[in-house]
Subunit: 717 residues, 2 copies
């Protein structure tokens, strides 16, 4: 069911410090009966060493779990930063009134029975959220498992997963829309020894969304890495702002977003009350904001772990050091897939190694062979050469089962310590079977380790990604020029109006004019210069050639008149209902361009999006298109072009001249600015074809349709 | 360096039973000094409970490790099935003489210093292998870690990995070309509790190759699953025969093959002495023989484990049962990627569930929600409905961290037992965080379990793959008609000879004739009927239109004569050195066909291969081509066509008529038979274009080049 409780504003204004770092916590519905929802958060809170005040609220008892209790929030008579509502939904209204009266600032609402159960629940949730908002109270939930601030010993959750054992404190924050996933993720983190700073599930998101959590975590000093699990998004602008904030603070965000496929999206839609949006647009969002989209839960945690333990490598070059040539080749395969630079060792360093180990493979992967068992110093000496002479930003050392060997494990730790001391800025990753104590030692030395070499390679790729987006050398995203807002006219516009609008906004359009009748068409043709193309003009006809509505290469007035008659006939015959707006006369375009398509549309969640692809089968059969959130600058537009599998066709394929990529990029950027300015009034803009001429010869839009949203009130821009 | 020790014959004739199930084992170089290469296999052998005879061989001691020793193999005077050579390479020749004298049947040779160290070593290895072969002795190695027959307590290895702890006995066999990988794999199997039947590393493969091991394992009663690690292959025919044998015995083979990418292939080539071959052709081999090519080590073991514990599902339908809607959607994404059929539950079963749990998602994924904590029977009841009413061949149950919960873990075991009893033929997989005891219980019930739901989905896909190839319903591969062997003429043949050869072998070729001069060309044109195409004929000119060597649509004798003069001129001007063979006159093909390319070539390792793709950018830019080992039948050819990303273009794209797929498939099959018959005399055959006309209208080859290998002696076929 659709969620109608979303506040209109996208701004993340009020700080959530008092929420997530509360100095006092009241637990409404605090219970003494172990296992009850009201008992669990109180028990967690009492056991964890929290330094603030805790106020159990229970009308029937003076004491709960050995702590003084209050009958109502109103009775506490002290500041309450956070109230945890662990009561059935029927009691929530009353508790909220009490909270307002008591000046409570923030509420966690576990209770279910709201938007997730249907329209009545959604209405109830909306009333609740409105009332809280009016009172200046922030709300997490309803229908959530709450949150934990591990760094500050806050456990505002009733999830039994914490009772089964606490995850250790660390620098990874996890935020999950789904409670079940959140609990699973907590257990996974605990079992793998990952250190958590913070954890939350956002449930129905009546107020606080995943985006708000990310924005708060961006500035949380305990958090170095943000792991976010999304099923959808209620407010795209808020999410964009939060991701921008995380990037500005240099905090990597790793995301799992369900609904990559049609099947997954359908399942997610049936599950979550939030709008899905187009998954390809999420990909664009993540790419543009430097988020790493994890391919699965395993990768989600592997990368989170490596970010919390390791450092971002100073360059893209990856050195592969192995005791198995075969696994070296496997890692090289994975590195090639991940686009990493497996540059060869310098010649001198290669000679050094083959002098020491004649049958070593010295290039990269560097295979020191089984020789390491008889010459344990070989490994470290080779690694030093690789980091020194080779200059690799990342070093991945594969030691097979070495970590389980009582003789090899200490070699590994000593080596890690020596390399870390000599090369503090490098990413050093081990792939070896090992037990928890060795892993912990390597972690402490800033060297993540993995059983599986393929996973280690993928992690190196992710950390390079974050270096490019967040590292000291990363360029801050260039501010994209923004046009003043404009409102597109409602509905579909005819080709003449569409081309005029695009031309006025910097898109290279073929010179063309609207003409009411044959006389006007001839006049237009004379003004434009022969030969011309003639098309019927009607906002109702999208595929003009299908109804015989196009005539090309008309060389003189006679030909134009004849074509006018013919086209009018065809229109009358094949589309008698279509509104008639006369003709469009256009100068014939020069031959030789490559057909591209360029478009924009408004994603229901993430807003204006620009799309680019090559014409014909590339788009229709291979679905080879690039998306970006609008606006993009020229560099972003060039990246879009380069991301196409068909990009070689634009770069001088089979002796053809390379296309004018700058002109294409300028056209993409111009359309993206227009789309961004059109905002909510944008339904879609399609330019098809956009001809790409050889370098220096520009690009040219031959046909276009602009469609404003039906709801837009404004006149044509 | 190339390996020249491969025996020419591909037949796997002699049984390896006495090798891998020896009744007696001699250890040459048996030592008492712990840690020495000669001490380790004896220690393993003595400790493991082996029932056969063990003969330590040591010229200096009457007793080694508390067991009577013999000074030489000659002194044993009892049958020796297997001799393990744990001596430096300098002593190997003498030991081999002793072995021959003593009638030893099989030898494991650990020693290094052979083909892997250069030409001298390769020559030494060749002499050794020849001598052993002449004496009827089979050889594993040199430069290998040996083998273990876990089921029969044979430990003919010196790898320290076994000393660190033995893997439990089970039904998984591992064969690895690489020793380092083999040791790593053994440790991984042990750490994960996988049960092994057998393990071997083949090293330099002077005699026994990975293929021979697979062939033996095909009939080994202890082995249910074969995991094979390949870096290359010395004998493609042997590998094909072994894989066919494994399939005939219904044994799944999971393979890791390095060198997927150029980078990985280069690393593998520098590491292994075996020929690489084209990786795409390995893909074809694996596909055709029903091998699952694992994407990494993790998947290699996950699938091996699931095959050893679970069963092959009776149908492709996958039911997803989850306690988290979000993870349900994630699994649906993964299932869609894997091409699984996530069919919805029947309506009645959906109603049943929503009556019981109003807010459940009943379709598929089936989300029973957190309700399971208060209603533990819900999970099993839903699963029963899914297997019963839903008829799902596979059921994947996601329980988050449930396996770690003292209350939920027993629910899970009870459920597994009940489902197994009620549905013995289904594949039931759990994804839950759990500890080893729960996993072992689920394993014992035939239900594999995984931490990560994505991995579980991938495993279900693999087991469905094996059902299709090996299951009771799997069709035995149809015998492909084989032509009598034929020898192609050496070198490149001109278009006329090429077309004639193809036409004679059932390929639909445009009617055409060779003509020595203009008079003959006119005669040919009259015989074929106008209009005709004219081309210069020369085996030296592959791209005739580039030199102005093609004239199309010639309507009469005059046009033909004029074109002859023009083409001859062009040839003289642009390719004066080219051999002149006159002209080819061809009937003009009907318009409207889709351009395809069809080819064959001989892979240096795996032999004749057939290739199909669509013309133009599909092949050149998108590399969208299908390969299969030749021959293929019509069904295999249709599968090749369907595997193209561009396949929709042949199936009636944008209102065009669908192409004549049967005619295309017949052409592919015909060329594949010709390629198979040509065998070693085949260098390449290229048909470009092959026009695909609308269904019923056939296909037509317009141009072709046949090239025989330079070494071929025979006349033109």
């Amino acid at each position: 069911m659709p969620d109608t409780t979303t506040p209109a504003s996208a701004a993340v204004s009020a700080s959530l410090d008092s929420f997530f770092s509360p100095r006092s916590i009241a637990i409404v519905g605090a219970s003494a009966s172990a296992g009850k929802i009201g008992a669990i958060p109180l028990r967690y809170q009492l056991e964890c060493g929290y330094q603030g005040k805790v106020y159990p609220i229970n009308p029937a008892r003076a004491e709960v779990q050995g702590v003084r209790a209050w009958p109502s929030l109103r009775g506490v008579e002290a500041p309450i930063d956070l109230a945890v509502f662990a009561v059935p939904s029927a009691q929530v209204d009353g508790a909220l009134d009490d909270a307002i009266a008591a000046g409570v600032r923030n509420i966690v609402l576990f209770s279910a029975g709201y938007a997730e159960v249907g329209a009545d629940g959604a209405a109830m949730q909306r009333r609740l959220a409105d009332k809280a908002r009016a009172a200046g109270i922030r709300l997490l939930g309803p229908n959530c498992l709450g949150f934990m601030n591990v760094a500050q010993d806050v456990y505002a959750t009733f999830s039994p997963v914490v009772g089964a054992g606490k995850a250790r404190a660390g620098s990874i924050a996890i935020v999950s829309q789904s409670g079940a996933f959140g609990a699973y993720a907590y257990a996974l983190a605990r079992e793998r020894g990952l250190g958590l700073s913070w954890w939350a599930t956002t449930g129905n998101e009546a107020d606080i969304q995943v985006a708000d959590c990310i924005a708060w975590l961006a500035a949380d000093p305990a958090t170095r890495v943000i792991l976010a699990y999304l099923e959808g998004c209620r407010d795209g602008e808020r999410l964009k702002a939060a991701l921008a904030l995380a990037r500005a603070h240099g905090k990597p965000v790793v995301a799992v977003k369900v609904g990559r496929t049609g099947l997954g999206a359908a399942a997610a839609a049936s599950h979550t009350a939030s709008l899905a949006g187009d998954d390809a647009v999420y990909d664009a969002l993540f790419r543009q904001y430097g988020v790493w989209r994890a391919h699965g839960i395993e990768e989600f945690f592997s990368i989170g772990y490596a970010l919390s333990v390791g450092r971002l490598p100073p360059n893209d070059k990856l050195g592969l050091l192995t005791v198995s040539g075969g696994v070296g080749a496997l890692m090289a395969d994975d590195a090639a897939d991940a686009g990493l630079d497996v540059a060869p060792m310098p010649e001198a360093a290669q000679r050094w190694l083959t002098e020491r180990v004649p049958f070593a493979a010295p290039r990269n992967p560097v295979d020191v062979t089984g020789q390491v068992t008889s010459d344990p110093g070989l490994l470290e000496a080779t690694a030093q050469r690789m980091l020194g002479d080779g200059g690799y930003g990342s070093l991945l050392v594969f030691l097979a089962a070495g970590g389980l060997s009582p003789s090899m494990a200490p070699v590994q730790t000593r080596m890690a310590a020596a390399l870390r001391a000599a090369w503090p800025d490098r990413l050093i990753v081990f792939s070896t079977l090992s037990h928890a104590p060795l892993r912990a030692e390597l972690d402490a030395l800033g060297c993540p380790s993995f059983d599986e070499p393929g996973r280690a390679v993928r992690v190196v790729a992710a950390l390079n990604h974050f270096r490019r987006h967040l590292g000291s050398g990363a360029a801050a995203p260039a501010p994209t020029p923004v046009l003043p807002a404009l409102a597109l006219a409602r509905g579909t516009q005819n080709e003449a109006d569409s081309m005029a609008l695009l031309g006025a906004h910097g898109l290279p359009c073929v010179p063309c004019r609207a003409a009411r009748d044959a006389d006007a068409a001839v006049a237009a043709a004379e003004a434009l210069g022969y030969p011309v193309a003639l098309k019927v003009l009607s906002r109702d006809i999208l595929h003009k050639s299908d109804i015989g509505g196009v005539a090309l290469g008309l060389a003189d007035a006679g030909a134009v008149r004849a074509a006018c008659a013919r086209l009018q006939d065809n229109l009358a015959r094949h589309a008698p209902q279509a509104v008639r707006e006369g003709f469009l006369v256009a100068r014939m375009a020069a031959r030789g361009g490559i057909e591209c398509i360029l478009g924009a549309h408004r994603d229901p969640v993430l807003g204006p999006v620009v799309m680019f692809g090559l014409g014909g089968v590339n788009v229709e059969v291979f679905q080879d298109v690039s998306f970006r959130l609008a606006p993009v600058d020229r560099a972003g537009a060039l990246e879009m072009i380069g991301a196409l599998r068909a990009a070689p066709l634009l770069c001088g394929h089979r002796g053809q001249p390379p296309a004018d990529l700058d002109a294409l990029a300028d056209a993409i950027a111009a359309l993206s600015r227009l789309a961004a300015a059109a905002g909510d009034s944008l339904e879609s803009i399609d330019i098809n074809p956009l001809l790409a001429y050889p370098a220096g010869a520009g690009a040219l839009a031959l046909d276009a349709v602009v469609t404003g949203t039906a709801a837009t009130a404004g006149p044509a821009a």
